[in-house]
Amino acid sequence: MTPPKPHRVLLDRVSGYADEAAAYMRRRRVARRPFARLYYSGGRGSDHAADSVAGGELFVAAGRLIEVAGKRARS
């Protein structure tokens, strides 16, 4: 049996990476939930759950800004 041509190997490998990336993005879209994250000087960050007081207020404030921005202006 003859070995596969080198360009076939390369194409298969690139296709494999593309499939992996597509699957990762699909999983990310499904699994990702709303979050509120704050960052401070020095790189420190903190997450606030939606059911916490601060988190709830952040989601309300963000929702108002999203409303102001409206739908996407460009296609």
Binding site: F35, A36, L38, S46, R64, I66, K71
Partner: protein, 151 residues
Amino acid sequence: MAQTATTTIQEARARDTVGILAEMPDATTDAVSGGAAEGALAYLTEMSPDLRGGAILDSTGSVLAASDHADRWSEDARVLLEVADRAGDEPVQQVHVATEQGEVFAMRHDGLTAIAVTDRFALASLLFFDMRSVLRDLARGGDGRAGEAAS
């Protein structure tokens, strides 16, 4: 080889550093014109295909540029930053809130604030990078397009 005493070098460094800092212009937001801010916002919109709208505010919270409804951007951005500041024990530098309807980014830098609303799943690190470069250039008296020359 002649060597300079370490203390001498440190004194010189301290003296020169003070001189450098004295020559640097203050990062005052008073110098930022509305025209420059509008140009910067347009540039940010151009660079970020996911962007739905945004605003740039000065240190008092007044809108320098907004994609639309400047008064509402001012009010709602103020509320968001107040809430974010209350959530921690120090003023917040960056805010990222992701909801089902879209994502909100806010960044404070050199006395200026940039707010951006994007579609879901925008690349946060890229957007924050762009916002920072725009604000930094505006604070230096530029038009926010310093990144354009570098790219």
